[in-house]
């Protein structure tokens, strides 16, 4: 797109702002117990306010009320949604198709906000109307360049009484490969048949000639190895090629007792990488054998960690089978 085309495109895009996506939609069924019970089964919801009239009576709710987060469910289209749509059926579809036709093919829900004026009573008929409230300027995001679209929905009952509201924000973006293709690149088609995403796991340590044996021993023997000079017997950690006492490059290893004390620690809250449990209590351990190593303290609340606290080894195994020595507070006695 040249500058004039872009201006025309953005003008047409912004003309969607303020449009209702279509006529107000009334839910097929009034608020009812069978749908509430089905919802509660799926959610593991046992709150008597939604399930037991006798118990609900003595509470602030007074009678059975629908779970608050069910609000939108009362007006969902249901079965028809599985067919998708080739031709846009409403203004929201038209907006999304307009952006997709211009290369903004990616779509990602980013935020919602729901306000519940009150909990819904049995028998109420819910009607909703959705308006395209905001379309942002073009933004550079982690996913690619794109536009944030915010829709606002109002809910009311058959008496016109307000029940709540919802806003929903999605990002419509150009996946980078398609952005490159649009700019004359050659890799655009690679985006088709995109590889299935792999579940992220712990970032693996580099395992080279000098330390690969150490990780292998952890995995195969379930021990914490400490490297030992085969000539003078001095221990060293982390693994490295040469003894700093006698210069020998010959080594073997011993299995650590697994007992140690926290030398120092830090608690990592952010940044959060996929594949890890946060917060992470990252520790430096003074091993009983005299060596010092970096590890992770588990089975311990961050606020309970103390310098000098006794810890013991455990060999942790990730879901993908990777093993790594961790520590936990030593069991007393």
């Amino acid at each position: 797109m040249n500058e004039n085309e872009k201006k025309a495109f953005e003008a047409q895009l912004k003309s969607f702002i303020g449009r209702p996506i279509g006529p107000a939609m009334t839910g097929r069924d009034p608020v009812n117990e069978p749908m509430i019970r089905q919802w509660c089964d799926a959610m593991g919801e046992t709150n008597p306010a939604h399930l037991d009239a006798a118990k609900a009576k003595g509470t602030v709710h007074g009678e059975i009320k629908a779970p608050p987060t069910m609000l939108q469910a009362w007006v969902m289209e249901g079965w028809a949604m599985h067919e998708g749509y080739d031709e846009p059926k409403n203004e929201q579809h038209r907006l999304h198709k307009f952006l997709a036709d211009h290369g903004y093919t990616g779509v990602l829900g980013t935020n919602t906000e729901e306000n519940y004026t009150r909990y819904l009573r049995l028998g109420e008929k819910v009607t909703a109307e959705t308006v395209i409230a905001e379309i942002s300027d073009e933004k550079a995001t982690g996913r690619g360049i794109g536009y944030f679209i915010t829709t606002r929905t109002k809910f009311w009952n058959e008496q016109g009484e307000e029940l709540g509201s919802m806003s929903f924000r999605v990002l419509r973006y150009k996946p980078p490969a398609e952005a490159a293709a649009a700019a004359g690149g050659s890799q655009g088609k690679d985006a088709k048949g995109a590889a299935v995403a792999a579940k992220p796991t712990r970032i693996k340590p580099p395992m080279g000639q000098d330390n690969g044996w150490w990780w292998e021993k952890v995995a195969k023997e379930n021990v914490l190895p400490i490297q030992r000079c085969a000539d003078c017997g001095k221990l060293r950690h982390p693994p490295r090629p040469m003894c700093d006492a006698c210069g020998s490059q010959k080594f073997d290893s011993i299995a650590a007792s697994g007992r140690g004390k926290v030398h120092t620690f830090t608690v990592i809250h952010y940044p959060q990488f996929p594949g890890y449990d946060y917060p992470i209590v990252s520790i430096i351990v003074d091993l009983e054998e005299g060596e010092r190593m970096a590890s992770t303290l588990v089975e311990c609340k961050p606020e309970a960690v103390q310098i000098g606290m006794p810890v013991e080894l455990l060999i942790h195994q990730d879901e993908d089978g990777f093993k790594i020595p961790f520590f936990r507070p030593a069991k007393r006695g």
């Binding site: 306010a49 987060t69 919602t112 729901e114 995109a194 579940k199």
Partner: protein, 136 residues
């Protein structure tokens, strides 16, 4: 359910007991049906795979429903949810363990804000802030 907290009994920073939820295909599909969301990616693995995902994934309403019961199970029967703000992250799929954690992040006269995070092996699936009205 336990008795309902009063706002004055709670402190900012206070944590909810953790809840780890095993996600199954039944939960994902059952939650989608219960919320009348028949978008194929929430009940049809093939449809999700065709979109480049490894499996069908949980819809937003189910995520919100699970977070909501996590919060009100803790707060008590007389707690009323008046607002939920959610920030959406990565997908939650069969086989994932959704780890729900919560803490009180704000407190006023008769209300509290509780921030819930739901993480799985993909990272953050959802961060939801619930505003509750509590008994005086």
């Amino acid at each position: 359910m336990t008795k309902t907290f009063k706002a004055s009994e709670l402190t900012v920073g206070q944590e909810l007991p953790p809840l780890d939820l095993k996600t199954t295909a039944t939960l994902v599909a059952g939650g989608a049906m219960a919320s009348r969301d028949y978008t194929p990616v929430h009940h049809d693995r093939d449809a999700a795979v065709a979109q480049g995902l490894p499996d069908m994934f949980m819809n937003i309403l189910t995520t919100q429903g699970l977070c909501s019961r996590y919060v009100t199970d803790w707060a008590g029967i007389d707690a009323i949810v008046t607002r939920v703000r959610t920030k959406l992250g990565g997908p939650n799929m069969p086989g994932d363990v959704l780890k729900l954690r919560g803490k009180v992040v704000a407190r006023a006269d008769r209300s509290v804000d509780v921030e819930v995070s739901g993480n799985n092996a993909w990272g953050n699936h959802v961060t939801a802030t619930f505003t509750l009205t509590l008994p005086a």
